[in-house]
Amino acid sequence: MAQPEPAGASAGALDPTGNGRVQRPSRIAGIGRFTGRRLLTGLGTLAFVLVFNFFLFQMLPGDPLARYKGAREISAEDLAALRQELESPLWEQFFNYIKDPLQLDSYSTIQGKPVWDVIATALPWTLILLGTSTLLATVIGIWIGIRAGWNRGSKFDKNSTGITLFLYATPEFWLGLLLILFFSTGFWIFPGIFPSGSAIGSGLDPWTVDGVISIAWHTVLPAASLAAVYLADYSLIMRASMVDELGQDYLMTARAKGLMDRAIRRGHAVPNASLPTITLIFLNIGFIIGGAITVETVFSYPGLGLLTWNAIQADDLPLLQALFLFFSVSVIVFNMIADIVIAAIDPRIRL
């Protein structure tokens, strides 16, 4: 072998600054360190949310005890004690709050049950709705985005971009109302086959076959309206990222290597283009947990969104406080997951 350089000439000789030195590869260790750091910043955000949540409810107008009284039996002495607590200095109240940030013993004024029990009852329904719609939106949205972006300017691209732009601009509750009109009440030639209102037929046990079928049947319309709007979001972002990647030099390299079109797309373009969409998906999940309010309200779907709406209507402050905390935590957590997933895919993030 005619070595162009003395044998042993290596990175050091080539790169006197030494910044090209290659760390021993350890994807897991790198991600572990990254996750640790990310967890710390997540905790910091959480602390801020806890403090903010306290002052937010301090600023609300009205007398919190007025509602509290109406919801359940309460003796005059207890009421006086609560009143005294409300009138104690702010720092004292804050101290009491921060001792028990989750407010485990606080009761919902509308349901007369501990707030976390109320949330736990509604959560599974939200998770079913969210899981179904997210799955549909990501799979269909990403597929459309890849195909449209890779064949930019094609008929498929033009049609799908037109449709997704329309869906993107559509409010999901309006779409929900239309779906109810066409497929729930039935209208003109459209059969009203899907139920709306509630998440399961009355009196059915969710752990039976009939119950599961009923749940699935009830999920179709609300999940479809959520999925339609979010899939538009994902496909538009995915398409834009694909188009960005099309002109990249490494795709020219891949083409020159003699790879099939499909291998270039799947092996090189899509992994690079998917990074922004993946971030968006996880961020959205965090928000939809609290943000499906309009859809759940339109469909009277008994998830966290409807619960929030009812709590606002009835000034159920303890429940609202717990819900806000829960929503904030879900946003923080999914934000964190998004960062970690991206770091696992893109080595440049793990620096």
């Binding site: 072998m1 005619a2 070595q3 162009p4 350089e5 000439a9 290596s10 990175a11 080539l14 790169d15 600054t17 910044n19 090209g20 030195r21 290659v22 760390q23 021993r24 590869p25 990249q248 030099d249 490494y250 020219m252 390299t253 891949a254 083409r255 020159a256 290597k257 003699g258 790879l259 099939m260 291998a263 092996g267 090189h268 992994p271 690079n272 895919i345 893109d346 080595p347 440049r348």
Partner: protein, 325 residues
């Protein structure tokens, strides 16, 4: 025998504004073991010329003429055959300083990929073994198979690009500005490496550069391109010592001569810009910038004609002896 033979090759892009003839009637051949350089300003069609060999130009572009890789015209190939020729017969050394490597894939995986595609019976393990040997040959430690592109310096990435081009033992190596954006010390190392590899493997090598000093010391023959045409070609040394075409001379004048202190302070540039290929001047494309231009140059189409043994130039004044060496 020529491993790469371009015969009357033309390529025209078709943007909405109208046709752009980026390469016009180029004849160029590269023998096995020979290093041929193509020089010219940015936008003269050098990179487009390379793209014709593996048909890497956009689908909308139209081509004419023949590009024979090892005797087979690539313009006539079916896509399956074309894909086999890509990297198997002819490979490209892209600019490593650009994002020519996939940023989120390990180097090893990217180098193994063409071997698995092109070599029958290659396994992940056998391909990786070959990749390690290649890294060693280009002077990189084999542990770099586990690195990501962003962990390497520009010079290291350029070596990776060379190793990548060698993975399937091509007969033709096309080097697209292989040393641009590298510092001068690393440039010299990369060029030595390329030259060594071409000689040792008896490959035909085509180097494209805007940097004449890069080509002068490394090529057997050189072609000078202007506005999509070859305006002069000949043996490297001869061409550098006695440039015939006024454009070649202007290019030479723009580079200071090492050892000649005067030239460092008085590089003679060439006023004006190369013409836009979609809007070429009549007659000789170079006449608006040519110090020797006459009325005849504005009307007569110039073609490449022999001016001495092994030398061709496309200039009526050279042919008439006015600018002859």
């Amino acid at each position: 025998m020529a491993v790469l033979d371009m015969r009357d090759v033309s390529l025209t892009y078709h943007p909405a504004e109208g046709p752009v003839p980026a390469v016009r009637h180029v004849n160029l051949s590269v023998d096995a073991g020979e290093v041929v350089g193509v020089a010219g300003e940015s936008g003269c069609g050098k990179s487009t010329l390379i793209s014709t060999v593996l048909r890497l130009y956009p689908k909308s572009a139209t081509v004419d003429g023949e590009v024979l890789v090892d005797g087979e015209n690539v313009f006539d190939m079916k896509w399956n055959r074309m894909r086999a020729v890509r990297w198997g017969e002819a490979a490209v050394v892209f600019q490593g300083a650009l994002h020519s490597l996939n940023p989120i894939q390990r180097i090893g995986k990217q180098l193994v990929e063409p071997i698995l595609v092109h070599e029958k019976g290659a396994t992940e393990a056998s391909a990786m073994k070959k990749v390690r040997e290649l890294l060693d040959q280009v002077g990189l430690p084999t542990r770099h198979v586990n690195a990501y592109p962003h962990q390497l310096s520009g010079g290291q990435k350029q070596r990776i690009m060379i190793a990548l081009a060698l993975t399937c033992d091509p007969k033709v190596l096309l080097c697209d500005e292989p040393t641009t954006a590298l510092d001068v010390m690393v440039q010299a190392q990369i060029l030595d490496l390329l030259k060594g590899i071409a000689r040792e493997r008896a490959m035909g090598m085509l180097i494209i550069s805007h940097d004449l000093s890069v080509l002068s010391s490394n090529c057997d023959r050189i072609a000078i391109m202007y506005a999509g045409q070859v305006v002069e070609q000949g043996p490297a040394l001869d061409l550098f010592q006695n440039p015939a075409h006024p454009y070649t001379r202007a290019l030479m004048g723009a580079f200071p001569t090492i050892g000649d202190g005067e030239s460092r302070y008085a590089p003679t540039g060439l006023p004006g810009d190369p013409p836009f290929p979609g809007d070429l001047p009549s007659g000789c494309s170079f006449h608006p910038r040519c110090p020797m231009a006459t009325d005849e140059c504005r009307t007569v189409d110039v073609v490449l004609e022999p001016i001495a043994p092994g030398r061709d130039a496309a200039c009526i004044h050279v042919n008439q002896g006015v600018g002859a060496p």
